[in-house]
């Protein structure tokens, strides 16, 4: 039986609560505000400067932003990033949810399946990039050899402007499906057992039960997974840096790669900061939207 969280706890001892809250938050505030927020704020401030890294910063107001709005490369890279996000997030989320459902049973060997599925996420970035490059190699790569068994002549995955992005996205999904599965597993185990299995009293099929009971109860987890995956894929960098360097052409030039290029190759840190602010705004809007959508519909208390 579900009932809303009691509200009386909010009124009692308000001042003591505030003190207690900030005391508990203090260490993390030092870390987050001091080491995580401060650089972000500095980056935002620097977007108003012209800083060529090896010289002193010069205040130029909104000049960088004027440049930004007419810079086709930036908008193109946003589109490319969006494309990447739209493949990775649904792909990873659906796959990891499916895996969690399969693995969350008291069947044999589930322990080992879980461990094996999570291994991709534990990979060293350098080695990972190299191995996938081998797999995608048109001539001797495992993927094309595998397709060859079925008589399919595999294309040049990473050299094709059309296929490069899906290939890189596939590596992302490979890397993170097992990882996100862990969150869904934890979420599933948080649901009281009485609500987990479809009972004959429901009259519902397992699939119906899943969509009407389990999935809504998974919303807190789903919110977390979606938001962190969206943020994570907007920030994707390592795999693209190793496997495609933004190419072929600019078909995989995601926003973070453009930012890296501006900062470390063109030494235009002011402009790189400006693009970062734009990216930040996009991600923030995406995150807020998800929060708004979910929080309205989410039940947190399952008693």
């Amino acid at each position: 039986m579900l009932r809303p969280a009691p509200r009386r706890t909010r009124r009692v001892g308000h001042a003591r609560q505030t003190l207690a809250a900030y005391a508990l938050l203090a260490p993390s505030m030092v870390g987050v505000i001091g080491f995580l927020l401060a650089p972000v704020v500095i980056v935002m401030v620097l977007s108003l400067f012209d800083w060529k890294l090896l010289s002193t910063p010069e205040f130029i107001g909104l000049a960088n932003y004027h440049k930004l709005f007419t810079d086709g490369d930036v908008w193109h890279s946003l589109l490319v990033t969006l494309y990447y996000v739209l493949i990775c997030v649904p792909g990873t989320t659906i796959l990891s949810l499916l895996l969690a459902l399969l693995v969350d049973r008291k069947l044999r060997w589930m322990k080992y399946f879980r461990a094996l599925l999570v291994i991709p996420w534990m990979a060293t970035p350098v080695a990972l990039g190299l191995v996938w490059t081998w797999i995608f190699d048109p001539g001797r790569g495992a993927l094309n050899q595998f397709l060859g068994v079925f008589g399919i002549d595999g294309p040049a995955w990473l050299s094709s402007p059309v296929l490069a992005m899906p290939s890189v996205a596939a590596v992302h999904i490979w890397q993170f499906a097992g990882y996100n599965m862990l969150f869904f597993l934890a979420g599933l185990q948080n649901i009281p057992p009485s609500l987990r299995e479809a009972s004959s009293l429901d009259g519902a099929s397992p699939i119906g039960h899943f969509f009407s009971i389990t999935l809504p109860l998974l919303r807190p987890t789903m919110l977390f997974v979606l938001i962190t995956n969206v943020i994570g894929s907007f920030q994707a960098f390592d795999t693209i840096f190793v496997m495609t360097e933004g190419g072929p052409g600019d078909s995989t030039e995601v926003a973070t790669y453009l930012i890296y290029d501006e900062a470390f190759r063109k030494f235009d840190f002011g402009y790189a900061s400006t693009i970062s602010v734009l990216l930040f705004a996009v991600v923030l809007i995406a995150t807020i939207s998800q929060f708004v959508y979910f929080e309205r519909r989410t039940t947190y208390d399952f008693s």
């Binding site: 003591r16 609560q17 003190l19 207690a20 900030y22 005391a23 508990l24 203090a26 260490p27 030092v30 890294l53 090896l54 010289s55 350098v126 490059t133 995608f136 190699d137 048109p138 001539g139 001797r140 040049a156 990473l158 050299s159 094709s160 840096f241 190793v242 496997m243 495609t244 360097e245 933004g246 190419g247 072929p248 052409g249 290029d261 900062a263 470390f264 190759r265 063109k266 030494f267 840190f269």
Partner: protein, 428 residues
Amino acid sequence: MSQKLSRRTFLIGAGSALALAGCGSSNDGASSGGGGGKVELVYRLWDEQQEVGYKAVFAAFTAENPNITVRMEVLPWDQYWTKLTTELAGGKAPDVFWLTVENFPDLAGKGVLAPLDDVISKAGLTLDSYHPNVVQSYKFEDKQLGMPKDLGIVGLLYNKDLFAKAGVTMPAELTWAPDGSGSFMDLARKLTVGDKQWGFCSWNHSQTQWLNWIASNGGHAMDKPYGTFDFAGQKSIEAMQWARDLIFKWHLSPDGTRTNPPTGQATEMFYRGEVAMFPANNALLPFALPEVKFPIGVAAMPSGPSGRTVVINGLAEVMFAKTKHPDEAGKLVAFLGSEKAQKLMGDAGYVIPALNDAGAGYTAYWKKKGIDVQPFLDSAAGSTVNMPIAEGWTAKVAEINKAMNDLYLDKPEVAAIAATMDKIGNDK
């Protein structure tokens, strides 16, 4: 209860933060040590094979200068530049570090590299003793900003087993021409067998591939350092077209889908015996030797219609302009340019020293390994050309190389690719 908790937590939090901050020494990436006492210099490089060689060099240096020790910092190549840039943004850098020709322009005019002319003359060295191309590469506005370290010259490596199987031997001279004639072409044809073995590999690598063809055909990538690019010149386009025709017209080489950076496997194809002839910088030898199962032959690059001009590329050691120990760092730089240091690295087979006539030990080392590297040295004494450089080169070179990928995919017209490259290079 909450008040006690808050005080306790605050004290613990503040205390630990202060303690941790105290843990940090004031070692901020530059050197340590007071005046007159022991000085530790920081030397940064990206080759962990050469690190071993440099241990001997620095041992010799400290023997001559007991109050100076050198600490080496090896970084992965991909991140070398990122880290250096980050440090320079804060006004710091290692005392002495490696630079390539391609990264030099972006640092040259910014006051972060110390002029070495005085250091060199005080140590009794002259710039004439080094290969002129390498010296020139690190000069900026008449000041020498880099101590020539080594020279990398392009030669043609070949697979002796595949040659034996095809019943051919490497002639003394190879020739090529844009129309497809020349002894080089005939040789490559004989070595191309079926669809798994190619006589040659024509791929997107400026230093060992297309810059050489352009120069040997009489073209100029650039009229002078920091000058104007001319990839769209007629001779340059002919050379580029020839590089493409090797793949798509005469089928003597694998195409870009297999060789284009960053995922291309061109070098690996040579190691595997799928490619019979492979142009390479001599610095590849220490990496190639352990990996191949065939005897490696070395020949000079083929001569084009304008003769043989090969790319020469040397690294330099530079001194940070704001180092805390300019005297000691200067001594180190001078030592690194001395015959002793250069020979130590050359004799161990790592690199050809930039110092003239110091390469005998290098040749001897490789002879013992069964590889005759004389063609490299001969080419270095012949007609050579430097890699082009321009303002803002770090960014431009990345884009130009990327544009060149299309050449090996048979897509836009060569003229269009060349025009794009000129545009990128000449863009102010």
